[in-house]
C-alpha cells in the first residue's frame, strides 16, 4: 500500500495554478510566432504580435497572462496501489484556494448559478477522477477561461449525418463564435460516447499536447481536415480576419449507441494555460 501526503497534493496544485496563469507553454509560444510570420493580414499580424508581447510581460513581470484566471478543471488519474486517508477532492480544492489567494488571481466562481455569490477563493474546481495501475497520482490541471467556454457547443447528430455532419457542425460553431472565444484557438472535438461523455471527450482533447496527433486514423484525418477548413473561415485572431483561427484541432472519440452520433466542441482561447504533475506514492 502506498500513500501520498495531503500537503504534497495541496502545494503542487497551488504551485501549478500560480505558474500556469503566468507562463504560456513553449509549444504555444512557438506556434504563435509561426502564425505571426505566416499571417498576411496586417491587423491579424499586429494582434499576434501583441499576444506574443503579452506572454513575455506576464512571464518576466509575474502578471497573469489574462485577467480571467479561469475555473479550474482537473483530470486526476489515481494509481490503484494508492491509499488515501483524506479526501483527495478537498485537498485539490484547498490547493486551488491557496493558489488563487496567494497568487493574486481573480476569483471568478459563484456558488449558485442564479444566486451568484462569489466563493472568494475560486473553489470549487471541476474534478474528474480515473483509475490507472501503479502507485502514481497524475493531476492534469487547467485554469479555463469563461469566454471560450461560453462558445463551446454540443449536438446529438444522427448516424446518417456522418463525417460531413461533424465537419459542418464544428465549422458552424467556430464561425458563429467569431472573435468571442479569443482566437487563435485550440479546438477540442469529442465524437461518440453519449450526452455527457462527449463533452468530456472534447474537454480532454484540449488537454492534449499541441503537437500530439490522434493514433486513430479516422480521427487524425478529421483533425487535419478541420484545421485546414477552420483556418479558411477568415475568422482570424480576435475575429478580425486572417488565416490564424486555430493553432490546433484535437479529436477524441469513443464508442457510442447505434442510434447516436454525439459531437461536442470545446474551445480553448490562445491563453491556453495548463499544467500537470506526477506524484509517486511511498510505501506506507
Amino acid at each position: 500500500m502506498h500513500k501520498i501526503a495531503r500537503e504534497l497534493v495541496v502545494n503542487h496544485v497551488k504551485d501549478m495554478i500560480i505558474e500556469s496563469t503566468k507562463t504560456l507553454d513553449k509549444s504555444i509560444v512557438d506556434s504563435l510566432f509561426l502564425a505571426k510570420d505566416q499571417e498576411e493580414n496586417p491587423l491579424a499580424k499586429s494582434v499576434l504580435e501583441k499576444i506574443i508581447k503579452n506572454q513575455e510581460i506576464a512571464k518576466t513581470e509575474d502578471i497573469p497572462l489574462c485577467q480571467d484566471t479561469g475555473i479550474v478543471v482537473c483530470f486526476v488519474e489515481v494509481g490503484r496501489d494508492l491509499h488515501f486517508d483524506y479526501d483527495l477532492r478537498h485537498a485539490i480544492n484547498e490547493g486551488v484556494s491557496k493558489g488563487y489567494i496567494e497568487g493574486f488571481l481573480r476569483k471568478s466562481i459563484v456558488s449558485h448559478p442564479l444566486k451568484r455569490v462569489n466563493t472568494q477563493d475560486n473553489t470549487p474546481a471541476v474534478i474528474h477522477f480515473d483509475f490507472i495501475s501503479g502507485k502514481q497520482l497524475i493531476i492534469h490541471l487547467a485554469p479555463k477561461g469563461g469566454g471560450s467556454e461560453n462558445m463551446s457547443t454540443l449536438k446529438m447528430l444522427s448516424p446518417a449525418d456522418g463525417r460531413q455532419g461533424i465537419i459542418d457542425f464544428v465549422l458552424k460553431s467556430i464561425k458563429d463564435a467569431g472573435g468571442k472565444p479569443c482566437p487563435p484557438l485550440i479546438v477540442g472535438v469529442g465524437i461518440g460516447g453519449n450526452f455527457e461523455y462527449v463533452a468530456e471527450l472534447a474537454k480532454k482533447a484540449i488537454f492534449r499536447p499541441l503537437s500530439d496527433v490522434s493514433p486513430i486514423m479516422e480521427d487524425r484525418l478529421l483533425e487535419e481536415e478541420l484545421l485546414e477548413k477552420i483556418n479558411a473561415l477568415d475568422v482570424g485572431p480576435m475575429g478580425l480576419g486572417g488565416k490564424t483561427t486555430a493553432l490546433a484541432v484535437k479529436v477524441n472519440s469513443a464508442a457510442c449507441h447505434i442510434a447516436s452520433l454525439p459531437v461536442a466542441v470545446n474551445l480553448q482561447c490562445h491563453s491556453a494555460r495548463k499544467s500537470e504533475v506526477i506524484l509517486i506514492g511511498t510505501q506506507a
Binding site: K50, K53, A58, I63, T69, F104, R106
Partner: protein, 174 residues
C-alpha cells in the same frame, strides 16, 4: 500609426472615428461588466443616481486580477461585450457614448450604436498583462461588494484599442 485619443471624448472626435482605426487612449476610463451593468440599469429603472456621469466618458468591460503591492492594477484585458448588449441601450440613453470590450455585438445593438452615434471599441482579449502596463492608477468608486466586478475609475496612458463599430454603424466584423 495609432491615433491618440484623450478623455473625455468630445462629440466631433467620437464621430470622426472610423471602424478599423487603431487608437491609443489616455485619461480616465471606467470599468463595468455583467453585475455592475445589471445594478446600473436597476438604478435607472428605479430613478436612482448612477455611480458617475456618463457624459463624454468611456466604459471598459473588465474584471481585473487583484493588484500586488506597487502595482496600479493586476491583469486587465477585456471581457466579451455581447453579454452587455441587453444593458447597453439603457446606458446609452443616459449619455454613454463610448464602450470598450472584445468580440462581436448583436445586430440590434449595432443598430442602437448607430442611432445613438456611439462608438464601440475593442481591446485585444487575453493580453491583460500588457494592458496593465498602460494603467497608471485604479480606484473603486462603486459596488465594492462585487469584488472583480466593482466599478473602477482607471487612469490610463496610451491604452491600445481598435474602433470596431463607429458612429455611422460601420463594423469591423464580417
Amino acid at each position: 500609426m495609432e491615433r491618440k485619443l484623450n478623455t473625455p471624448i468630445s462629440d466631433p472626435v467620437r464621430k470622426s472615428l472610423c471602424a478599423g482605426e487603431e487608437v491609443l487612449i489616455s485619461g480616465t476610463i471606467y470599468t463595468a461588466r455583467d453585475a455592475a451593468h445589471r445594478l446600473m440599469v436597476e438604478s435607472i429603472e428605479n430613478k436612482q443616481a448612477l455611480p458617475f456621469d456618463f457624459e463624454g466618458q468611456i466604459i471598459y468591460y473588465v474584471g481585473p486580477t487583484p493588484a500586488k503591492t506597487g502595482q496600479a492594477i493586476g491583469s486587465c484585458g477585456p471581457t466579451s461585450s455581447y453579454r452587455m448588449d441587453r444593458y447597453s441601450p439603457s446606458l446609452m440613453e443616459k449619455g454613454l457614448k463610448v464602450m470598450i470590450g472584445k468580440g462581436e455585438r448583436t445586430e440590434p445593438l449595432r443598430e442602437v450604436i448607430q442611432a445613438q452615434e456611439a462608438v464601440y471599441l475593442i481591446a485585444i482579449g487575453g493580453i491583460g498583462a500588457l494592458l496593465s502596463k498602460t494603467v497608471v492608477s485604479s480606484e473603486i468608486i462603486a459596488y465594492d461588494e462585487l469584488g472583480p466586478e466593482a466599478i473602477r475609475k482607471l487612469s490610463v496612458k496610451d491604452f491600445p484599442a481598435i474602433v470596431a463599430i463607429d458612429s455611422k454603424g460601420q463594423s469591423i466584423f464580417k
